[in-house]
Symmetry: C2
Amino acid sequence: MNDSIHQCARAILDTTPAIVQAMRVEMRAERLHELSVPQFRTLAFIGRHPGCSLSDVAEFIGMTLPSMSVLVNGLVEDDLVLRQPCRIDRRRVTLTLTAAGVTVHTRALDGTLAWLTRQLSPLSELDRVTVLRAMDILRPIFDASQVAATTQEATTA
Amino acid sequence: MNDSIHQCARAILDTTPAIVQAMRVEMRAERLHELSVPQFRTLAFIGRHPGCSLSDVAEFIGMTLPSMSVLVNGLVEDDLVLRQPCRIDRRRVTLTLTAAGVTVHTRALDGTLAWLTRQLSPLSELDRVTVLRAMDILRPIFDASQVAATTQEATTA
DNA sequence: TATTGTTATACTCTATAACTATA
DNA sequence: TATAGTTATAGAGTATAACAATA
C-alpha cells in the first residue's frame, strides 16, 4: 500500500512544527543567548562556510535575498557577523563570523543541544537510532536548495 | 554509548527547522490558501477541539496568551473562527471553526499533504516506515502540553 | 485575590517592489 | 542586460507589561 506515504506525510506535518516551536520557546527562554531560530541557523551556515555570499545563505535557509539582507544586517549590527565587499566581484559580499559570533553561536548550540539531549534522554537506544536514521533520510529531501530546484523545475516544465 | 543521543540531538537540530522552513515556503507559494504555519496549526486544533478556550490553544501551540489572542483575532476577522463568550464562565471564550474555516483548513491540509507526499515519494518503503516510527517516537516528547496531548488522543481515538 | 482574556507597545521575520552598483 | 545586494514598505508572529472583567 502507498498508505504508508500518507501516514508518513501526516506524521511529519503534525510533529515537526511542534518540535521547532518547542525549540523556539526554549531558545527564547534561555536568556543567555538572544538568538532566534533563523538567526541561529544563519550563524551556523556562515560558521560552516566562511566567506560565503548573501545569496548562498539565503538559498540554504530558504529565504528571499531581501529578507536575508535584513537578518544579516541585524547580526552585523550586533557584531556577530563581519560583512565585507568581495575583491574579485564587488557586487558580492563575503560573510564571516566575528569572535563574538563564534562565541554566541557556540553557546546557543551547546545550550539547545543540552536541552534537546534532556528531552531525548528517556528514549531507548533503539529509538534513538531510529530517530537518527529518519533525520538522515529526511535532511537531503528538505534541503532548501533541493526544494528550490524542484520548484523551478516544476515551474519551467 | 550516550554518543548516539548527541548525534540524535544534533540531527534533529539540523533537520527539523529545514523541514518546517520548506513547509512555510510551500504554504506561502500556494496562493490558494493563505495560511501561515501557526494559523494552520491553530485551525487544526480548534477543528479537533470545538468549543475550546483560548488558553487551550495557546498551551497546545506553545504560544503566550496575548500572542494567541492576536492570532485568533486575525482568524476571527477573516471569518474562519467563531469566538463566543462562554455562558458558564464568562471570562472564557469558546472557539469553533466556521464553515469557511473548515473549508480553508481542509484545503490547506490537502495541499500541504500532497506536497509532502511528493517530497517523500522517492523514499523506499523501509525508509518511510523508519520516518513514521521516528515521528511517533518524537511527537509525545515535544507536544507543548501533556493535557492537550491526552485530550487529543481521546478525541482522535 | 486568582483567572481569562484583551490592548498597548515593540521587536523580529518575511515578502514584494523599487533601487544602486557592478559585471 | 543580468546579477548581487540594499532600502522602502507592509503585514504577520511574538513577547512583555498593563489593563478589564469575571470568578
